[in-house]
């Protein structure tokens, strides 16, 4: 049984995964993120193309609100401050933090229930700095 099957009935059918991004990669910090990718997953399959949302400024509070409003079930991010982590988990949102790598691979691994906190994904690009 993969993790989304353990969730409550309405979530089980269709859930949203939010990834904080910076270019092709998972953003290094939750509080400095102004770009997110939201994917809708239904029974282990991505539904449509993931949406990219650009926020007008980096704000962890606005981001938490967006996560709540969008009914996101899983957040994949880089470094996150404890208070934001605690808030999200208190709201029953699963957080996989300290992920390093490109966000597409992170999403695939999350859908396959293979992504863990602190994972460093094999990087698909040779030169990370550019």
């Amino acid at each position: 049984m993969v993790w989304y099957e353990k969730m409550k009935a309405p979530m089980k059918d269709k859930i949203k995964i939010l990834i904080t991004t910076q270019g092709d990669f998972v953003a290094q910090r939750f509080d400095l993120t102004s770009e997110v990718v939201i994917a809708t997953v239904e029974r282990g399959e991505a539904v449509d193309k993931p949406r990219t949302i650009i926020m007008d400024r980096p704000s962890p509070e606005d981001l938490c609100n967006m996560i709540m409003e969008e009914n996101v079930a899983l957040v994949i991010c880089g470094g996150i401050e404890d208070r934001h982590y605690q808030f999200l988990t208190w709201k029953k949102i699963r957080v996989i933090d300290f992920v390093i790598g490109d966000h597409e691979s992170a999403l695939q691994k999350a859908i396959a229930d293979d992504l863990k906190q602190g994972d460093m994904l094999p990087l698909s690009r040779g030169d990370l700095s550019l």
């Binding site: 990669f25 470094g79 933090d97 030169d127 550019l130």
Partner: protein
């Protein structure tokens, strides 16, 4: 056993070298991936050495130093100049740690070719806590001190001022510490790590002031042999402090207003608009409202600058601070001069406490410095005080004026206050037909109390209401002036 990384092949192990660094340190290769780290780096970030080697450096430190897409690393690698930036990181314990980053270039002896970068992360959380405690906590800054309620109100508002981006207008008589307040606000703001540029608008002729503020291009005027960046450009991302703004010529006020609105300006003789991100703090000892009424200062600029306003009280209005500052500066100068700490004798102290200090804290400090230098005994007597203090007192007595000397602005302010009282309750002044005409505040205050008491027919409650004070304040002041 852990595999060693050698800085010089076969000679110096990089890990041993980094172990000697007192801060968290990492070595990065040409692609900015981590080659080696020390134990302090492991402790700070929460990542073990094995996990981070070969990973892009900023992915591990998770800093806010603006190293988006390795821009800072790239800049250091290209220019060869070390960069130091204050910021923070988020470590594996989900804790935000304030850090001072220093990134410098490592290159080989042969041809000076770049081999990588050295990244030092100094944990500055303790320093930040200490500086906050001393600036805005109980101890205050070492150079801005005071216990009076009016100064406490100023101290209370300072942190708020530091955390905004709005323009600030600081008013106060000469010597009240406008510059120090401006610098403190800048130092504690998010712009604190950038430049604090101070310019006196009253010290330069208009043409020179324009060139100083906005810069000029080569050939703009005779003698302009090269391009010059103005103070605004130099203060980019930081704060510009325009002191004596009341003396700024009208023609330049227009240009300043447009900079505040557009955040851009044309240098003298220039055709290209320069963009700047500068916070403006202005200060003046004049009353800008009066200047506006007289047409000497633009009203729109006044409102643009007067977003946040701090008024620094003159020393004579800072109850109890004179004694405190006298002792503070005396101890300070005694330490500096290597003397044992002296004290003021009763007569000298009485004279010093009775003096009105038209030059405010600056004058008080100079008087104490004079005393500390001149006096060779433990007790500072009346004879050790500067002679001009007595000359002024003598002159005042001859003029029939018992109080201290007051500069023009103080007199104007005092008269303004009396006028305000007159406006609120004309009978207060009219009842006795007497009026304080610009002597020191103590005398004016005493007269106001007497007038209010006369109007209230000796009823202290009524007198307190007339003056807008509480009964306790009135009672304290009555005792202070010896009216009981």
């Amino acid at each position: 056993m852990m595999r060693k990384t050698f800085a010089v092949p076969g000679v110096i192990a990089l890990d041993d070298l980094l172990a000697g660094f007192p801060h968290a340190t990492a070595c990065l290769d040409e692609g900015f991936k981590i080659v080696a780290v020390n134990h302090l780096f492991e402790a700070l970030t929460g990542y073990g050495r094995e996990a981070v080697v070969g990973v892009y450096g900023d992915f591990i430190v998770r800093s806010n130093m603006g190293n988006n897409r390795g821009q800072i690393f790239q800049r250091v690698a290209e220019s060869g100049e070390a960069v130091t930036i204050d910021g923070d990181i988020i470590n594996r314990s989900r804790k935000k740690v304030p850090v001072r980053f220093t990134v410098s270039l490592l290159h080989t002896k042969r041809g000076g070719r770049s081999k990588g970068l050295l990244m030092v992360l100094e944990d500055i959380s303790v320093q930040q806590k200490t500086s906050q405690a001393t600036l805005f906590g109980g101890d205050r800054a070492a150079d801005i001190i005071g216990h009076s309620p009016k100064m406490q109100a100023v101290f209370d508002i300072l942190p708020l001022m530091s955390h905004t981006e709005a323009s600030i207008l600081i008013t106060g008589e000469t010597g009240t510490g406008k510059d120090k307040i401006a610098e403190t606000i800048h130092r504690n703001s998010s712009r604190g790590k950038y430049q604090f540029v101070k310019i006196n608008c009253g010290a330069l002729p208009v043409e020179l002031l324009e060139s100083e503020l906005f810069g000029h291009v080569k050939g703009a005027f005779t003698g302009a042999v090269r391009d010059k960046a103005g103070m605004f450009k130099m203060a980019d991302k930081g704060t510009i402090f325009l002191t004596e703004i009341g003396d700024m010529p009208l023609s330049l006020q227009v240009k300043l207003l447009s900079v505040l609105d557009d955040r851009a300006f044309y240098p003298v003789g220039g055709e290209r608009k320069e963009k700047v991100d500068v916070r403006v703090i202005a200060a003046t000892h004049r009353s800008l409202r009066d200047q506006v009424q007289r047409g000497a200062f633009r009203e729109d600029l006044f409102y643009r600058l007067n977003v946040l306003h701090i008024h620094l009280p003159p020393l004579r209005e800072r109850e109890g601070d004179i004694r405190f500052l006298l002792d503070y500066f005396l101890q300070d100068y005694a330490t500096r001069l290597g003397k044992e700490v002296q004290i003021f004798c009763k007569a000298a102290l009485h004279h010093l406490l009775d003096y009105s200090y038209p030059g405010n804290v600056r004058e008080l400090r100079n008087i104490v410095e004079y005393c500390a230098n001149v006096c060779r005994k433990h007790d500072i007597n009346k004879e050790d005080l500067p002679r001009y203090l007595f000359e002024r007192s003598l002159a005042r007595r001859q003029d029939g004026d018992p109080g201290g000397a007051v500069p023009t602005i103080a007199a104007a302010e005092a008269v303004h206050r009396v006028k305000t009282v007159e406006k609120a309750e004309p009978s207060v002044v009219a009842a006795t037909g007497r009026r304080a005409d610009g002597d020191n505040w103590t005398a004016i205050e005493k007269e106001m109390i007497l007038q209010a008491l006369t109007t209230g027919k000796g009823n202290r409650q009524k007198a307190a209401e007339l003056l807008g004070w509480g009964r306790t304040t009135l009672w304290r002041k009555i005792r202070q002036h010896g009216l009981v």
